[in-house]
């Protein structure tokens, strides 16, 4: 790791100020994506702005017809949130599947979303529920937020403050873990909120998280595994690596979508 200066602001405004003064600085949330990359010297920020002392950035709340999760809420706390378990257990499946227990004890939703790792779990939930990402500057719809591998709509100096998930009556996440890293080899989030049906896939696409319109269309008749029986997606644009070929990933998208639907119905 290269050395850097370390800052611990206590308000979002202070954090934003630090970012403005240090344009190359990086925000440090749980650190479980950033620190490993810095240890490998693949990232070289001259300054880190640690958000852990910033007030009011943690917690899971019910607000109207949404669940609102503070950006600094750790995966374990989201997964175990009573509020979430009651309002939308399908969403709790996502943080509950991330990494391993120690990673879940430290990693945060804001960090995960801002990093937009193409194999991360939360982007599937955001896109799969049509979440709204709230920053210190604006609100961004999930459909506009994830712009490709490790790339988001966040601008310089922009800090994710919270994420608002509209409550879907039926939703679930099904993940096939990468056997070594624990990320999603493929993960599929399905949801139905009134007429809004979403199927979002992470881990599979070479350009990050995406929606499967053909499945969504087929599910309009009936939101059930049967509606997409035998359906698959083309292998073009899927990732290929030593653990899974593009064809296999494409196949898994169908399998996991059906399993997620079965879970959502349960």
């Amino acid at each position: 790791m290269y050395n850097f200066t370390f800052h611990r602001p206590t308000t979002v405004r202070q954090a934003a100020g630090l970012l403005a003064r240090n344009p190359e600085a990086k925000l440090l949330a749980g650190g479980h994506s950033l620190l490993p990359v810095m240890k490998q010297r693949l990232a070289n920020p001259p300054a880190l702005v640690d958000l852990s002392l910033v007030e009011g950035m943690s917690g899971v709340e019910l607000k109207g017809r949404s669940v609102v999760i503070g950006a600094m809420t750790r995966h374990a706390d989201v997964a175990n949130s009573k509020v979430l378990q009651e309002a939308m257990p399908g969403l709790a499946m996502v943080p509950g599947s991330i990494g391993d227990p120690q990673v879940r004890n430290r990693g945060t939703i804001g960090g995960s979303i801002a990093n937009n790792d193409p194999n991360a779990d939360y982007p599937a939930a955001c896109l799969g529920l049509g979440a709204t990402i709230v920053t210190n500057k604006r609100r961004i719809a999930a459909d506009d937020f994830f712009t490709g591998m490790f790339s988001t709509a966040l601008e310089e100096g922009e800090i994710i403050v919270k994420v608002m998930f509209p409550i879907a009556k039926k939703c679930a996440y099904e993940k096939f873990k990468h056997p070594a890293s624990g990320f999603a080899l493929v993960g599929v989030f399905v949801s139905k909120r009134g007429p809004d049906i979403r199927v979002a896939v992470t881990g599979a696409g070479s350009n990050g998280v995406f929606r499967v319109k053909s499945f969504e269309e087929a599910l309009k008749k009936r939101f059930a595994a049967k509606s997409i029986e035998g359906m698959t997606i083309p292998a073009t644009g899927m990732n290929t690596d030593i653990h899974a070929s593009a064809e296999y990933r494409a196949h898994l998208v169908g399998v996991l979508a059906r399993r997620a639907l079965a879970k959502a119905a349960a």
């Binding site: 790791m1 850097f4 479980h32 810095m38 640690d50 391993d100 227990p101 120690q102 990673v103 430290r106």
Partner: protein, 166 residues
Amino acid sequence: MPTVSMTVNGKPVTGDVEARTLLVQFLRENLRLTGTHVGCDTSQCGACVIHIDGIAAKSCTTLALQCEGAKVTTIEGLAEANGPLHPMQEAFREHHGLQCGYCTPGMIMAALDIVRRRGNDLDDHTIREQLDGNICRCTGYHNIVKAIKAGAKAMAPGGASRQAAE
């Protein structure tokens, strides 16, 4: 150089560290608490697991400066000097839950976190799933699972042993 202060195994400690100093480096090099190990560089293996404010974390993926003011517990802090072993330590010995010993401190610290989250009555499946963040190359996990199951039971209120020292 920044200064960091925290409580480690019940004792207040302070050190001057480069900002890039990881918690595991601070523990091993500054405090000479070498029971916490490093087995990988990608947060996979769990040899470095310690507790920060009672919650298990990988000290290789945490900066020392992030722990300013925190209470950190390492393997060295589980049993008091000259006191009895912690029931989980005892269970690892009783059930041969270790061979080379390198992953063991992280395993024990992770096991205590499983008990914190899942209670004292653990089945094999739960233990195996919850050990996802800890790798052992020697034991095939068979006896680690046995040890954690027994250790968790022994930690139960009214169980064979006293509560965690934390």
